[in-house]
């Protein structure tokens, strides 16, 4: 105990003798020690930061309001499109109707293939088979079958050139029309087939793709109208030739009458 007291006394004496140095050390420590940094909550810089962040928050809130409004509009639009413009139930119903139409079309197509052949004699049968074939590759045989039934153009010994021309033109018009009938039958079969295909594709179409198929169907309709016009044109040609024949009969009758009168006058003059 005495030793400790003696040691403390010596330290005190040693420190006292160096009091100036301790003072300097403490001063250096106080001045240069890295004290923990003080918080900036109370500083002016922090106030600026808070104000800036508040402004940003306000701006972001405004943007959020706008975005929320956009979302509202989009949701409203989606609801409107789903319930008014493109309701799934109406689309399914329309597709179902297209499927039902396909059944009707199949029955119509079957009706067009019912055989209607009626001739009983060999030559008429041959021409009838040719005409009802609906096969364009058989057009080449039409003229032969026609001539077998209706006979050829009279030879020059049997008819005047005028009559032969008339007969040949009439035969030509009749055969053209018969050949056209074969073509039209074949075309209408293809149109029925295409219409079936188009209708089937409508069944699986989306509302956005249906107008494309509709455009294709419209194009086919235009084409079909053109074929109908071609057939009508041949029908008109036939009737025109018929009318021309009636007129030719009058003309030839007049010529024959004049010739007969002339011959009678000659005969009377001779007597």
């Amino acid at each position: 105990m005495t030793n400790v007291a003696e040691a403390l006394k010596q330290i005190k004496s040693w420190m006292w003798s160096r009091r100036l140095r301790f003072t300097l050390l403490i001063s250096v420590l106080v001045l240069t020690a890295p004290w923990p940094a003080s918080g900036q909550a109370d500083g002016p810089c922090c106030a600026i930061l808070v104000a800036g962040l508040s402004s940003i928050a306000n701006s972001l809130q405004s943007i959020a309001h706008s975005l929320s409004a956009i979302l509202g509009v989009d949701q409203g639009m989606l609801r409107f499109e789903q319930t008014v413009v493109w309701p799934t139930s109406a689309i399914t119903q329309a597709q179902g109707l297209v499927g039902a139409q396909q059944g009707i079309f199949t029955r119509i197509q079957a009706l067009t293939h019912i055989p209607v052949n009626s001739a009983t004699q060999p030559n008429p049968q041959q021409l009838e088979i040719n005409l009802l074939s609906g096969n364009p590759s058989m057009i080449g045989q039409t003229s032969a079958s026609y001539t077998a039934l209706y006979g050829p153009v009279p030879p020059t010994t049997d008819a005047s050139p005028q009559v032969r021309d008339l007969v040949d033109m009439t035969d030509a018009a009749a055969q053209d029309a018969m050949k056209r009938a074969i073509q039209i039958d074949a075309l209408s079969d293809l149109e029925l087939q295409a219409a079936g295909q188009i209708n089937q594709s409508i069944q699986t179409a989306a509302p956005g793709s249906a107008p494309i198929i509709e455009a294709q169907a419209d194009a086919w309709l235009v084409r079909a109208n053109a074929y109908t016009q071609a057939a009508t044109a041949d029908l008109m040609r036939l009737r025109a030739i018929d009318l021309a024949n009636s007129s030719a009969d009058i003309k030839m009758g007049a010529t024959n009458t004049t010739n007969l009168r002339q011959q009678l006058m000659n005969l009377l003059q001779h007597n």
């Binding site: 160096r18 300097l24 050390l25 240069t32 020690a33 890295p34 930061l49 800036g52 701006s59 706008s66 409004a69 956009i70 639009m77 409107f80 008014v84 413009v85 493109w86 309701p87 109406a90 689309i91 329309a94 109707l97 039902a100 139409q101 119509i108 009706l111 067009t112 009626s118 001739a119 009983t120 039934l149 209706y150 006979g151 009279p154 049997d158 008819a159 007969v167 009439t170 018009a173 009749a174 055969q175 029309a177 018969m178 074969i182 039209i184 039958d185 149109e191 219409a195 188009i198 209708n199 409508i202 509302p207 249906a210 509709e214 169907a217 079909a224 109208n225 109908t228 036939l238 018929d242």
Partner: protein, 276 residues
């Protein structure tokens, strides 16, 4: 790291301060220590924070002058779009009105047109023509045999070989055949017409409940129906072409035979004249 460095420095500095002898040395150690602290140990002074404010202002500027107006503009455009679709393109009222109009017109015209088309047109008075007329207009395709029989009863069969030349028999047979072909085709066409009307009715009925987005399906299927209708019209036209062609071919055949008979007659007369 900084605290560790400072502790090392201060320990060395304290040891030097307390162990050196002489006032000058103490002063020198003190100056050296202050210089070392000032140059090495003391952390560099922090930068001023004025850059953050500028950054915040820049962000605010972007938000307020660029993003917010664009978002507001998008909102305006979408609202206008929505209003345009709902009031101009697909107004619910117009869609309902169109659906109602389809229903109203179905009621107005459906039965009326059906009655007109279904009115009785039969006019024959004698048994055979009456039977044939009934068969002609029954829209059935399963009684072609009966039609041929009825036709033969009304128009009689082709002459026997003893009654007419083969050429006449052929022509009569072909005329009859094409007539029957056309009549059978017309029976099939009548039946197809019934189906087409059925198709038209179902399409119209569907249109009365259709939405704006489902109508392309209906118009597309209606167009395919039109194509089929055209095809059937063409079938009928083809039959008419055959019939008309046979008619003028028949007249032409008579003309040819007239020429042949005239030649034969001329030959006979000349022979007779020679004999006399």
């Amino acid at each position: 790291m900084h605290y560790f460095l400072y502790t090392v420095f201060f320990s060395v500095f304290a040891w030097l301060m307390l162990t050196v002898h002489g006032r000058r040395r103490v002063l020198a150690v003190t100056l050296a220590g202050v210089i070392v602290v000032a140059l090495v140990v003391t952390p560099p002074q922090a930068q001023a924070q004025g850059g953050i404010v500028q950054a915040i202002q820049a962000v605010l500027k972007v938000l307020n002058t660029l993003i917010l107006p664009v978002v507001n503009s998008i909102h305006g455009t979408r609202s206008a779009n929505s209003t345009f679709y709902q009031t101009t393109v697909w107004p619910v009222q117009s869609i309902s009105q169109a659906n109602a109009q389809v229903l109203q017109m179905m009621g107005q015209y459906g039965n009326l047109m059906s009655r007109i088309l279904g009115s009785n047109l039969r006019s024959a008075t004698l048994p055979a023509p009456q039977s044939m007329e009934t068969l002609l207009r029954d829209h059935q395709v399963n009684n072609f045999g009966g039609l041929t029989q009825s036709f033969n009863s009304t128009y009689r069969t082709i002459p026997t070989p003893t009654d007419a030349s083969q050429a006449d028999r052929d022509m009569a047979d072909f005329d009859d055949a094409l007539t029957l072909d056309s009549l059978k085709t017309l029976k099939a066409s009548d039946s197809a017409t019934d189906l087409e009307l059925q198709a038209a009715n179902s399409i119209e009925s569907a249109a009365s409940q259709a939405a704006a987005g489902s109508t392309p399906f209906l118009t597309a299927t209606a167009t395919t129906s039109s194509i089929r209708s055209q095809a059937l019209t063409q079938k009928m036209l083809a039959a008419e072409l055959r019939q008309e062609a046979a008619r003028i071919a028949h007249q032409n055949g008579l003309r040819k035979r007239g020429a042949m008979f005239t030649t034969q007659l001329r030959g006979t007369i000349m022979n007779l004249t020679k004999h006399n």
